[in-house]
């Protein structure tokens, strides 16, 4: 479904990604593992078109869409859940969801279905998003991405900084998203969560993919874990 080939991304003059390539197939959860600053978020943003790569290609659903504006990527069916959440703080929870609604269709996501998926959000419908707790904001960013009715979601460190109870809840919900047919690229530092959820994984460090393998490869390969993932 998504094919990233040899992308190089820069922030102004600093070279951040050095030829990152990865692939995500229909219905898979693929994780992108790496330490802080390894290039996970930049990879996600490059795919979304927020920091367009200077070299390389991004192909989604068989179409080359390198350098497309973020709104076009979203319209093609990519949902984006940024690591810093970026809820629209001045809007209520309900308004955050309303303005995100897109590609409305029978059996698709709407406000009601999203509230059934995250019941905690229903009770705070009228609250300003800026006043939510970290866990609530995380639910809202995922809910907001779902409202665009995506086929594919970029989930950037959804469990970062959250209490274990909420991490478990999110983990279950992400697994449910996969069951509903959604494809996910999950950036994570939390190895356990990532391995429980994903089918395959890439390990990124210093802006380049260092290792690629199935879930079992990753959990058995201690050398890779020690070299790239331990702090």
């Amino acid at each position: 479904m998504l094919r990233v080939e040899n992308i190089h991304t820069y922030y102004q003059l600093s070279h951040i990604l050095f030829g990152v390539s990865l692939e995500v197939g229909q219905g898979e959860i693929v994780c992108l593992l790496g330490r802080n600053g390894a290039g996970k978020s930049t990879t996600m943003k490059s795919i979304m078109g927020l920091t367009p790569p200077k070299q390389g290609t991004i192909e989604f659903k068989g179409k080359v869409c390198t350098g497309h504006k973020p709104y076009l990527m979203a319209r093609m069916g990519i949902g984006f859940v940024p690591d810093d959440r970026r809820v629209f703080a001045d809007l209520t929870v309900g308004e955050n969801l309303e303005i995100s609604e897109r590609n409305v269709h029978e059996g698709g996501w709407n406000k009601d279905r999203v509230y059934n998926f995250f019941p905690a959000l229903r009770s705070i419908d009228a609250r300003r998003a800026g006043f939510l707790s970290g866990g609530e904001q995380q639910m809202l960013t995922i809910a907001r991405a779902l409202m665009t009715n995506p086929d594919f979601i970029l989930l950037d460190e959804p469990t970062e900084g959250l209490a274990p109870l909420i991490v478990n809840m999110l983990e279950e919900q992400i697994a449910r998203l996969k069951e509903s047919g959604l494809t996910v690229l999950l950036a994570e530092q939390n190895l356990e969560v990532a391995l429980r959820l994903s089918d395959r994984g890439y390990v990124i460090d210093n802006g380049a993919i260092q290792y690629h393998g199935t879930r079992d490869d990753l959990s058995s390969n201690e050398a890779v874990r020690n070299k790239y993932l331990c702090v």
Binding site: P70, Y71, P82, D90, S100
Partner: protein, 298 residues
Amino acid sequence: MEFSATVTFSALMQQVLVGLSRTTILFIVASGLSLVLGVLRIPNVAHGSLYMTGAFVTYTVATLFGQSTLGFWLALIVAPLVVALLSFIAERGLFCHLYEREHMMLLLFTFAFSLVIGDLVKLVWGSDYRSLVAPVFLQGSFSISGFPFPRYNLFLLVIGPLVAAGLWFLTNKTKIGKIARAAAVDREMVGAIGINVSWVFAAVFVIGCYLAGLGGALVAPTQNITQGMDHAIIIEAFLIVIIGGLGNIWGALLGALIFGLTDSIGILLWPQFAIVFPYVAVVTVLLFRPQGLLKSTW
């Protein structure tokens, strides 16, 4: 130096009403400026020039109909739309390519734009001043506890709250308003949920400029329509937006109230120095609330 020691209650009331009608014009113009500043991050110096254009177009349309009542209403509808159309062309043709630039560039650009509009107005209408009479039913005065109060000012007092209510509805109840509020804080993320921010900006810019045109149309019967009215209003409008809180429409209302009321009451208290009062109020506000009275969207 002469202090008027005998400020009667009715004289005070009269000046308050005059100040409130001035507030209406200031609010309409400043809210448009604030909207554009808050959402697009453009300090639109040409906003005053669009206000002036609105006033001149109002004059022309009303005069085409012999400055009749019908002509006045028609002008009140047409003039802001002409200004909106002008701003739409400017936005799609010029401004939309500049959003990523730094503020200084935008400031210079809109300043240049204001000079171009100023000269265009001079080309079309010449450098003489024009005047427009209010329609018959808005001429003359009411008597409020013995003091005359112009009917047209009362009309402005009706329009002001209507515009405020309209803006409230637009920003809080419509989808474009909600999107604009989101884009004011995080335009990138608005793009990431599939919204083409460029068209949101165009809409907000046009609405903001429409308000400049509306302000110009409403002020037309109350003063000489002349070159230079652009500079006077833009300074006031920027001060109002700054003391109210950048990008906050209700801040613009509060700022316009402070500016309009200190101006009119100043005239009553100390006519020779009346012009100083609103500026003293601005300085006072900034001393205590340099970030503006209400929450800025910046």
